[in-house]
């Protein structure tokens, strides 16, 4: 190992300083990405712990493992942790933070200090949420529906809402930073049509962060005020309209699904091209589809409210618009598939995850079409069908993409390879475990099992047992990478600057990159994913 260590001892962002202060006060986007990586991984396992307890409770029809109040807190805290503290920051704040400045050939994001502030806001928000969870928890569901959250819940609603309010600003500042960076910091020659699709999709997600997040912030603020001062804005007993809360909540929270999935789509575009050695099929369409999803995503929110008491005519409008947002997602899937055609495909772990993503996202997307259909939605909304659908999109889609990206850029981030065999095993476990967990839930949902049920009629048991079994497989699939990633930090093979022989500016600088990213500003003279002119070298790790 001694020789290996010596070769790494080149000046890079990791060895630029060692003290705690050099990390906590860093303005280097790469170090901030690492800070995020550690924090969101912790939150992921907190949320995962809640999920395991939920699945264990649902093994039997009777509510016997935990009390109903505890169960309600578990699914609420699972949702809040996963949505606001893991999924939304996952790809943007970790991978985007690390890779986007490298991809555009800049030495950092446009506002490095704002970036650090984002992380601190995240930590403060997470602290509020965690303290609220530990000191009694919260039981409103992650959706905070009024008047339950404002009047009838006796749990720590205000503390949690405040946590989400604060983490919202973390998200806003990250999005703002990305937009400005992509607009103004691109290297000479890096035109919009040469921009990697990962940048496009993060740009689109950033638009939603900037435009949508403030609305959830003010909405949760009003919920907190309602609880504290009984201002009546959302409380029907005081003349307010609970549907207004739902409108404002979903105005953000539906597009927020695209904050989660769009950056994931960007990861898949990078990986599919790299491991099939091809330019992406229909670059412009994939790029513009990201923007279309971001914009159309704002027009469909009330499809969460078809049975909530909104007007029939509004329901018709929102149903129609909901179908439109499905189209650009379909376009992306078709283009990725076409990219594989006549490629030269290697089965490295990131690619396996990408295959998984394409398949599971297809299922997730198509079942979304079921929910856009008014008559079907009436039957399956608020049942396990919805639970299965959004887990297919968020876990089958987003978490798969996050894992794909983490494996793909791990050598860039750490300078070392992860163990390929173990990684393939875990990818397989995740895929199998995931389907076993969530596919039965589609059937449960159509059968009529409502979501958020602590106890359920006995005829639903078999499918629930299957689901719990799948969840245990899934858990193993997620713990494994945790172990081998840490292992690889010390024992992984040295990666070299470009282990995948990929194109893109991030691969043209050493791994790990120096603090200033590039010794001199790169000049781009080639199109995106120019694999045609990339000399064929053997990829570092087997295929």
């Amino acid at each position: 190992m001694a020789t290996a260590v010596q070769t790494v001892e080149r000046e890079n962002y990791l060895n630029a300083g060692y003290g705690l202060k050099s990390w906590l006060l860093t303005v280097d986007h790469k170090r901030i990405a690492i800070l995020y990586l550690i924090s969101i991984t912790a939150m992921f396992f907190v949320g995962g712990f809640f999920a395991m307890l939920i699945r264990l409770e649902l093994l039997t029809p009777a509510g016997d493992l935990v009390s109903s109040d505890t169960y309600n807190k578990l699914f609420t805290m699972h949702g809040i942790t996963m949505v606001f503290f893991f999924l939304i920051p996952s790809v943007p704040a970790v991978l985007g933070n690390f890779v986007i400045p490298l991809m555009v050939g800049a030495k950092d994001l446009a506002f490095p200090r704002l970036n650090l502030l984002s992380w601190y806001l995240y930590m403060i928000g997470a602290t509020f949420a965690l303290v609220s969870m530990i000191s009694g928890g919260i039981d409103t569901g992650w959706t905070f529906y009024t008047p339950f959250s404002t009047t009838y819940s006796h749990t720590n609603v205000v503390g949690t809402a405040l946590g989400i309010f604060i983490v919202g600003f973390s998200s806003i500042f990250t999005g703002l930073n990305f937009i400005v960076t992509i607009h103004r910091m691109r290297a000479p020659g890096l035109t919009w049509t040469r921009l990697p699709l990962f940048c496009w999709s993060n740009y689109a997600a950033s638009l939603i962060m900037v435009l949508g997040t403030p609305v959830i912030a003010i909405t949760l603020l009003l919920v907190a005020l309602e609880r504290l001062f009984h201002i009546g804005v959302f409380n029907p007993a005081l003349g307010g309209d609970p549907l207004l809360f739902q409108h404002l909540f979903w105005f953000y929270s539906h597009p927020a699904v695209y904050i989660m999935i769009l950056p994931g789509m960007g990861v898949i575009s990078e990986i599919v091209t790299c491991f099939s050695r091809k330019r992406v099929f229909g670059y412009e369409f994939v790029a513009l589809a990201s923007i279309a999803i971001a914009v159309l995503g704002f027009l469909v929110w009330a499809h969460h409210m078809f049975v909530a008491g909104i007007s029939v005519y509004a329901a018709l409008v929102f149903s129609l618009l909901s179908y439109l947002v499905a189209i650009p997602s379909a376009v992306k899937v078709f283009n990725w598939t076409a990219t594989l055609y006549k490629g030269s495909i290697r089965y490295n772990t990131p690619m396996l995850y990408a295959f998984g993503f394409i398949g599971l996202f297809t299922v997730g997307g198509l079942t979304g079409v079921f929910l856009a259909s008014l008559a079907i939605d009436v039957h399956v909304t608020d049942t396990y069908f919805v639970v299965a659908h959004f887990h297919y999109v968020m876990v089958g889609g987003m978490v798969m993409a996050y894992m794909a990206g983490l494996h793909f850029w791990w050598p860039k981030i750490t300078g070392r390879m992860y163990p390929e065999g173990w990684a393939k095993l875990s990818a397989l476990l995740v895929f199998v475990g995931f389907n076993l967990t969530f596919f039965p839930q589609f059937v449960l949902g159509y059968m009529g099992m409502p979501r958020r049920y602590h106890a359920y009629p006995p005829e639903f048991q078999v499918l629930n047992v299957l689901s719990t079994a799948g969840a245990s497989v899934l858990a193993v699939g997620y713990v494994l990478p945790m172990i081998y990633f840490v292992w690889s930090l010390r024992y992984g093979k040295l990666a070299g600057p470009n282990p995948w022989n990929a194109v893109g500016l991030e691969w043209m600088t050493p791994s790990p990159p120096p603090t200033h990213n590039f010794d001199e500003t790169p000049v781009v003279t080639w199109e995106a994913y120019d694999y045609e002119h990339q000399p064929e070298e053997e990829v570092a790790v087997g295929h």
Binding site: P147, H379, Y446
Partner: protein, 327 residues
């Protein structure tokens, strides 16, 4: 085995078959596209693997293909939309002449009251082959009335009536779930809908222990609360005469016209100034906080009874519900 693992809910309403039809169509189309994508990914991944296909062939893209896979999904989804919307439209409009049941949701039980005055909790008896309209409100948080076998669901809101309807086609006992999370015993807010032969239903009604019809109870309240002093059954009252009002458009003093439905009656009782009938003064006091959900239901039922055709035939007699005042 299949008794423990049913894969499909029973079809017990007129709408269930239609919803399932659309569902099968969606499943078929989705299965086709899923298999298409899975198949293509699998075939390409095997056929063009690096071991046998050393160099990739660069393809830029293709406008015709992009248009194909934009327009075909768009076309298919418009079929989904139209089909789903047609069924939804039926679901949203309760048919004329439906029998009405008032439901009040509260943490964590369902309270039902039939027009004839029978009350029940967590169990709802209805006759088979008859349109039943549910008029629902909540006295605390949001609940949702969900009967999977009927494929219907509607949120039950505080401060407002919502409604849904069904036409049961099969006798039997079906699950009733609360589908909107409502707190501690959310999963305990379940019950049964018992669909009976009409004769059995009549027999059940007879044993229901009703204390006067809803309309009669409403009429009593109407008198007790002093409504009758202004809302007289002639043109001399300081408030509008309520005979024949329900279900008709009402001209307001600011020029708008609204339909006198359940929510209009409710609002007129609780926020009288919101909509002033043309030609009247805004003098009615609010009854906010003085009436339970059940009382509101009774008052609405009474106002409705004032618009039943047979009463009008009786020459606008102001005592339409009197015959049932047994106590």
């Amino acid at each position: 085995m299949w008794k423990n693992l049913p894969l499909f809910p029973e079809q017990a309403s007129s709408i269930a078959g239609q919803v399932d039809g659309l569902y099968f169509f969606l499943v078929a189309v989705s299965a086709f596209f899923t298999l298409l994508i899975f198949g293509l990914v699998f075939v390409f991944a095997v056929k063009y693997r690096h071991a046998v296909h050393l160099r990739a062939e660069q393809i830029e893209g293709s406008l015709p293909l992009e248009l194909t896979w934009t327009l075909i999904p768009l076309g298919i989804s418009m079929i989904f939309f139209a089909w789903g919307a047609l069924i939804y439209f039926q679901q949203a409009r309760p048919p004329r002449g439906a029998m009405e049941v008032y439901a009040v949701g509260k943490q964590w039980m369902w309270k039902f009251e039939h027009e004839t005055g029978q009350r029940e909790i967590d169990t709802l008896h209805v006759p088979v082959n008859r349109d039943v309209k549910m008029i629902m409100s909540s006295q605390d948080t949001i609940h949702s009335f969900y009967v999977p076998a009927f494929r219907i669901k509607a949120d039950v809101l505080p401060g407002r009536f919502t409604s849904t309807w069904f036409h049961a086609t099969k006798t039997g006992t079906y699950h009733l779930f609360c589908a909107e999370y409502c707190g501690t015993q959310h999963s305990g807010m379940i019950g049964e809908v018992i669909v009976m032969e009409p004769a059995a239903y009549q027999a059940w009604l007879a044993n229901g222990g009703a204390t006067g019809t809803m309309a009669a109870n409403g009429q009593q309240l109407f008198t007790q609360l002093g409504c009758a002093t202004c809302h007289r059954f002639d043109t001399q009252g300081r408030g509008p005469n309520l005979v024949g009002v329900f279900g008709k458009p009402v001209q307001l003093d600011d020029g708008r016209t609204v339909m006198a439905d359940e929510n209009y009656i409710r609002e007129s009782i609780l926020s009288p100034q919101a909509k002033i009938v043309a030609g009247f003064k805004p003098i009615m006091p609010t009854f906010q906080g003085q009436l339970t959900e059940e009382s509101l239901g009774a008052l609405v039922s009474y106002v409705k009874s004032l618009s039943q055709p047979q009463q009008k035939a009786a020459g606008g007699a102001p005592e339409p519900a009197a015959t049932n005042q047994s106590n």
